[in-house]
């Protein structure tokens, strides 16, 4: 997975601007894939590695904001850098609320765009990282028996074995037994480690 090169998607209807942006990003040593419309981009396959989307706000047909909405609905959480010829505050607020990482007004300094792209890719990379860790934890979590999942939740809350036993109406020894299995199945080195894992699982479940 780490071998996959990051990729920058670029969607802008203005040919001249698209070509220049493409050149800029490419010159910075990044893979770039340009599209002249949002529809074309939606038809393209999703990336495996870290990626980001440089998106023009105003376009005929499907606009940048429309595309952002569609991507969110389809669960494609790619970081988006909006660019616009003329940005207004309500528009940028709307975009940022919807999860945009950056909102740039043309003409912007090239460095700003490249930095934004870099940051977006790093962010995506870390998101991907977290997602793969979460996927691993969930795999381990799914190996736990329902009783073990209950015990782990209470342990992660900081309850002592005796308290947990009282809570579940069982013996302290039984809890110790479960705990050992849990630590083994979850591949946790310490109680602190396990608590962090439970937090991660909990947050991912919330998303």
């Amino acid at each position: 997975m780490n071998a996959v090169e990051p990729i920058v998607f670029l969607v802008d209807d203005d040919q001249l601007f698209r070509r220049s942006t493409e050149r800029l990003i490419r010159t910075a040593g990044l893979n770039v894939q340009p599209f002249s419309s949002a529809r074309d981009f939606l038809k393209s396959p999703r990336p495996e590695g870290p990626a980001c989307l440089v998106l023009d706000v105003r376009m005929p047909g499907l606009s940048g904001m429309d595309l952002q909405r569609e991507l969110a609905q389809s669960g494609f959480h790619i970081p988006i850098i909006f660019i616009t010829g003329h940005g207004d505050i309500p528009m940028s607020v709307r975009a940022m609320k919807a999860g945009a990482v950056e909102f740039l007004t043309k003409p912007f300094r090239s460095r700003v765009l490249l930095d934004a792209i870099q940051a977006a890719i790093e962010r995506d990379r870390s998101v991907l990282q977290k997602e793969s860790e979460t996927r691993e934890l969930r795999k381990r979590y799914e190996q736990l028996t329902p009783r073990e999942r209950e015990v782990m939740t209470l342990v992660a809350k900081g309850l002592l074995n005796k308290q947990v036993a009282g809570e579940l109406s069982t013996t302290e020894a039984t809890i110790k037994f479960h705990r050992a299995h849990i630590m083994q199945k979850m591949q946790a080195n310490s109680l602190a480690d396990l608590i962090r894992m439970v937090e991660k699982l909990g947050s991912s479940r919330q998303r």
Partner: protein
């Protein structure tokens, strides 16, 4: 010499003979009576030759008329003397000498071969009639009795000749008298004839005079005037029929005009004064006064009087003519009033009038024109004087007008300026029309109006209108700010990207030159794109004076769509254009037409705010058309928005009417005024489906194809 008689009987015999001879001689005049001088002379010579036994006798008569003298000679024995009378005369003259006064009483001389005693006798006391010479061979010649006889005969001859002469003179005179009588008689006859003619002539003349008098009376009674004669002291003597009929008063009453109401009471003192002055001085009079008509109304008359004088200069009578000038007087008063009105009107309207005779350059000005030009009233106006006031920039126009006027051009209307001495400028509007006057001369009559105030007001209004138009344009542009910014920022962003890309590429060990070249080319493209947009915006924002060019509405549509393109995108409005291939050109101000279309397009977009996004479409159509027989270019902007109600239609184009919260309500009003200033129309129609269509037409500026 004394004859001696020896015997008394002899002597008696001799005496008797002598007495007989004397009686014969004395009887001669009786014989001669009525005879010619030549006959008298001939008988005298015959008598003397025979009576005195002469050998020769000669007579020479002087002609009183200076003709050649008559000479005659008798010889007793013609064979002994062959000489002619003239030779004999010359011979005697030699013997006797030239002067008859100094002649000897007798002389003996040789004539021919004989000695002869010669006795000369003068005829008349001084020999003025002539003379007789008697000659005889006898030695005792002449004897006493012979001398007596000779002298008596000479006297008798003188008497006879004188009588003959007298007679001939009498005859001549009588003849002459006869001739004169005859001549005079014929003259008298001719004169008589002449006289007869003259008499006939005079009779005719008298007849003519009578006729003429009748005519004169007739004329006097039928001329359109009233005539009166007055005595030298001014008393009315006679009047014609008209005067009596007009006044409705008999002569007797008319004589009392000085105290009656015949003359208008207001005029009477003046009339009496004038009249009295003329009567006492003998000067003719001429005045105007009102005279009472029979119906009691007073009419204006001109009264002229002339004195008629005797040969010695005394005034015989006055002749007075009264002419009805009431109409003229009223016309004069009306004219005066009308002139006063005109002068007031000209003053109020700042209109002056003038006339100009082209041939003589005589120029007449009204008072107001003097005021407009600020010249002293009455100053003699010349073209030079006018030229001095005309604004130097307009002087060529004035000169051109003058030349065209001289060339026969007859109608003018133009505006020019005056530059006054205080450097202020006046605007004048001049209209002139040329006519041939009664003398056949070209004369221009014209009016000049001082339109300075109006011109200044128009200029101020133009300025305000232009500022308002500009303001509206800037407002329209403001609504497109986002679109325009996008349109400019797009190429600017591209330029920045490309420039940075180039910098990165140059940092390589081996810079990819093709890539760099490509990037630089795109930079230039971006620059061009941005400056094109900026120049369009600048055109719209700049408050430049209106400028008409021939242009195609396609270009105007393109200009507007470039600026509004991103606004369409942002508002998700689909824009469609259907412009005819053969769209004819129009004449107009590109910026103003852009403004109109921009306004219609923005209105159309805004009207569709509430429309479902998929149905937001704006259609711009352009095509040539014939409207009211005129070739026009029609441009329509159709939206699918909320449209408008029928009763709103008229108010749409009113100023300050708006349906938009932020709208000024000036857009359509200004758009309409722009289109109308271009000679076109702007109006709105509701669509069959949703929305409205705004349309404007402009005159086709292309070559008219039928």
């Amino acid at each position: 010499m004394q004859v001696q008689f020896e015997h008394p009987a002899e002597e008696i015999k001799h005496l008797r003979r002598c007495i007989n001879d004397l009686v014969s001689v004395l009887a001669l005049p009786a014989m001669w009576s009525g005879g010619e001088p030549s006959r008298i002379v001939r008988t005298l010579l015959d008598v003397l030759l025979e009576m005195l036994h002469l050998d020769l006798v000669y007579v020479r008569l002087k002609e009183p008329t200076g003709e050649a003298p008559i000479e005659m000679a008798r010889v007793a024995q013609p064979q002994s003397l062959t000489a002619g009378p003239q030779q004999i005369g010359e011979l005697f003259h030699r013997c006797l000498g030239e002067d008859p006064q100094n002649w000897p009483s007798s002389v003996r001389n040789r004539i021919g071969d004989q000695d002869i005693s010669i006795v000369p006798l003068r005829l008349g006391l001084q020999g003025e009639i002539g003379f007789i010479v008697a000659g005889s061979q006898r030695l005792n010649f002449p004897g006493q009795t012979e001398r007596l006889l000779l002298s008596v005969a000479a006297n008798q001859a003188t008497i006879g000749l004188q009588e003959a002469r007298l007679l001939s003179e009498q005859k001549r005179i009588a003849k002459e008298l006869d001739q004169r009588v005859a001549q005079r008689t014929s003259e008298l006859a001719a004169a008589n004839e002449e006289l007869k003619k003259e008499v006939a002539e005079r009779r005719r003349a008298e007849e003519a005079v009578r006729e003429s008098e009748r005519n004169a009376r007739l004329i006097l009674d039928s001329i359109p005037g009233q005539v009166a004669t007055l005595t030298p002291v001014g008393e009315v003597e006679a009047v014609n029929k008209q005067l009596v009929e007009y006044c409705g008063r008999p002569l007797e009453e008319l004589k009392q005009w000085g105290t009656s109401d015949t003359v208008h009471p207001d005029d009477l003192p003046r009339v009496i004064e004038t009249f009295t002055h003329s009567i006492t001085s003998g000067d003719p009079y001429d005045f105007e006064t009102r005279i009472r008509r029979s119906d009691g109304t007073y009419r204006w008359f001109q009264v002229c009087g002339l004195p008629i004088r005797h040969p010695d200069g005394r005034i015989a009578r006055w002749c007075s003519l009264q002419t009805d000038i009431d109409e003229r007087k009223r016309a004069e008063q009306a004219l005066q009033r009308s002139e006063a009105f005109l002068a007031e009107g000209q003053h109020l309207a700042r209109i002056g009038s003038f006339s100009w005779r082209v041939a003589t350059d005589e120029i007449a000005w009204s008072e107001q024109l003097y005021r407009i030009f600020e010249f002293d009233q009455g100053l003699t106006v010349t073209l030079e004087l006018i030229g001095g006031r005309v604004h130097p920039e307009d002087l060529p126009m004035l000169n051109d007008m003058i030349n065209r006027a001289r060339g026969g051009f007859s109608d003018f209307e133009y505006e020019h300026r005056l530059l006054m001495p205080n450097r202020s400028v006046k605007h004048l509007h001049l209209i002139a029309h040329g006519n041939r006057n009664a003398d056949g001369q070209l004369e221009f009559i014209g009016a000049v109006q001082d339109v300075t105030q109006r011109r200044l007001a128009e200029e101020a209004l133009d300025k305000v209108r232009s500022e308002l138009t500009h303001a509206a344009r800037v407002t329209s542009l403001g609504e497109l700010t986002a679109s325009i910014a996008h349109e400019v920022n797009q190429p600017l962003g591209s330029i920045t990207n490309n420039a940075n890309a180039c910098l990165s590429l140059l940092a390589h060990g081996t810079p990819p030159l093709d890539e760099i070249r490509e990037a630089l080319t795109e930079i230039i493209q971006g620059t061009d794109q941005a400056s094109a947009v900026i120049s369009r915006v600048r055109q719209l924002v700049r408050n430049a004076p209106s400028e008409r060019t021939v242009l195609n509405l396609r270009d105007v549509v393109a200009d507007v769509l470039v600026l509004a393109r991103h606004e369409f995108a942002a508002r998700q409005v689909t824009i469609l254009t259907e412009l005819a291939e053969d769209l004819p050109p129009v004449a107009g101000d590109r910026v103003q037409l852009q403004q109109v279309l921009l306004n219609l397009v923005v209105n159309g977009m805004e009207a569709m705010n509430a429309t479902e996004a998929s149905k937001r479409a704006l259609v711009i159509r352009g095509r040539p058309e014939i409207r009211d027989k005129e070739r026009v270019v029609l441009l329509t902007v159709q939206d699918a928005g909320m449209g408008f109600k029928r009763d709103e239609m008229d108010r749409l184009f009113e100023a300050f009417y708006t349906t938009k919260p932020q709208g000024m309500g000036m857009g359509l009003a200004i758009s309409r005024s722009i289109i109308e200033a271009h000679g076109g129309r702007l109006w709105a129609e509701t669509n069959q489906g949703p929305g409205a269509t705004f349309l404007f037409s402009l005159p086709d500026a292309g070559n008219t194809k039928s």
